[in-house]
Symmetry: C2
Subunit: 322 residues, 2 copies
């Protein structure tokens, strides 16, 4: 196994050597290349490479499918940015700002088909399993995104509904990324499923930690201003778990979300979260899903060295401060 930094370098190098059509078709593929060049941690394709290496095939066999996973991820960011009307991502204008909305829609569609094509670059006897895993994951992601959109206008969201949403929006892709790597590495069906579970649970822990950081983190290490979710009245884990407590304080929380967006709302909501014990409860949830991830990982037939590589990655992802 290599280090995640080494895998990341291989991903960046493979992305740079993608041979996308140019000339008059650069109006279609230029925005695709722009979307893919945004950088980021490349966690998902790294998971694919690790899956292949861990189960005994060289990660070199998984490099194009791994690029497919990253292309899918960037496709979702591109369309999500259009839907959210987000102007900036990772310090650069989003595709629909740099170009226009129609370009973002069409080049996004192109990325989804390119992703499908790249992911299908596996041996023939693995194609069925890989494509089924990929397509089912994609549907889970859209379902998660749809639930997230619907939550904006719906009343009380239960914790279970929130978890279903992030399992789709965040968990499914991490699960499929590592599962596809495992399939390429000739993992047994049981091991492939356990790795999917490892990825999904890591994703849940990651997302809940992200919710925690947005309210209780340190803006210098988190990398963005604290309280953004509260300003946007986002129904995060903190919010849905707080509502589930019921009673007067929960009612006060709903009222506090109606305070005009500003420091006063951030302070009031944060104080209510603390009063309801959410700082601690949220941390415990992160711990619970991290443990579930490790439980699945430990149940695989992988050796200790391989398990350790995945443990470190999960730790790095979840324990991150930004």
């Amino acid at each position: 196994m290599k280090t995640t930094a080494e895998y990341g370098t291989e991903i960046e190098s493979a992305l740079r050597s993608l041979d996308l059509p140019g000339g008059k078709l650069s109006t279609l593929y230029g925005p695709v290349a722009y979307g893919l060049s945004a950088g980021g941690k490349r966690i998902r394709p790294v998971l694919t490479l690790m899956g292949a290496d861990a189960f005994g095939k060289s990660h070199a066999e998984a490099i194009i499918p791994a690029i497919g996973i990253e292309t899918f991820h960037n496709f979702t960011l591109l369309h999500d940015d259009v839907m959210d009307k987000s102007d900036m991502r990772r310090g650069r204008p989003t595709v629909h700002k740099k170009y226009d909305e129609n370009t973002a829609i069409l080049s996004g569609d192109t990325m989804l088909t390119l992703a499908t094509k790249y992911v299908s670059a596996v041996e023939d006897d693995k194609l069925r399993k890989v494509m089924d895993t990929f397509n089912d994951m994609a549907l889970r992601v859209y379902e998660g995104q749809r639930l997230d959109m619907d939550f904006e206008t719906s009343g009380d969201i239960s914790v279970a509904e929130y978890l279903e949403m992030i399992e789709g929006k965040t968990g499914a892709l991490l699960g499929a990324a590592v599962k596809i790597g495992a399939i390429i590495g000739n993992a047994s069906d049981k091991d492939a499923e356990l790795m999917y579970e490892f990825g999904v649970m890591t994703g849940l822990a990651f997302q809940i930690q992200d919710d925690w950081l947005d309210t209780f983190g340190d803006s210098t290490t988190f990398g963005k201003p604290i309280g953004g979710d509260i300003l946007n009245a986002k129904k995060t884990y903190l919010y849905v778990a707080a509502l589930a407590e019921g009673g007067q304080t929960a009612e006060a929380l709903k009222t506090a979300f109606n305070i005009p967006a500003g420091d006063m709302r951030i302070k009031t909501v944060t104080r209510l979260y603390e009063k309801l014990g959410m700082k601690d409860k949220c941390s415990k949830a992160v711990g619970y899903y991290s443990a579930q991830a490790l439980k699945a990982l430990n149940a695989t037939s992988l050796g200790e060295q391989e398990k350790d590589a995945f443990r470190k990655l999960a730790e790095k992802l979840i324990g991150r401060k930004k």
Copy 2:
């Protein structure tokens, strides 16, 4: 072989029995079902069924992939309507009007993945060829759509560029629809390629005929007002072929496109098209691509009865008055 009407009935029946998730996910899949229920000729999936039957497998084996082809077609209509800001399609509000734009984007993405999933419902030993055909076709379609968008703001378009655009936007899907049916039917690689060529050339003839009808057709049989392309200053076959003539009349045509959109522009441009012999030239182009389609069909190993079924379909499609 069955009649196209019989194949069409099977497609409608299969579409009606699609088991899309409901409940709280109906906000995602409801618009998908709405998009698929718009009706239309179902030419593309009928071609898939015919391909399977003609080459010796029962069309029953091709029914789910055929639904995938139709789902892909409707996905492109859905996103195109967002990009074109079209409010109506087949006498009903478009998805982004009935719901909203974000719904159209996300449910469109869902349709593309569903299409990929349905198309992959083939025997394992055909999966690679079918998926490659499907993904390559999808990229051609996006490229065609992109060229079409770019033509709106670019200067002179050559006839070759126009043909490249409609080969992507209209031809590739008809070609892939029948080719995937042929692959399912165990056609040889050569026959599958010839059927692709048959579909593409039929698509070119169809599109050029559509351009002709929009200017020289009869509004009662064409089903929409005559002159729409001229009012929208669309760069149709008539326009690009007229410009290729060069000289003063071609210059006059450019000027005529600047007349305020109305009857006067329609009359002036139509007269110039006639003066440049476009009514006849366009008909000849339709005849040429129809002949190319038949040439490819005739070169296959199919029997006369099967060839005749495809000939009739092409004739019906191209010879249509609406």
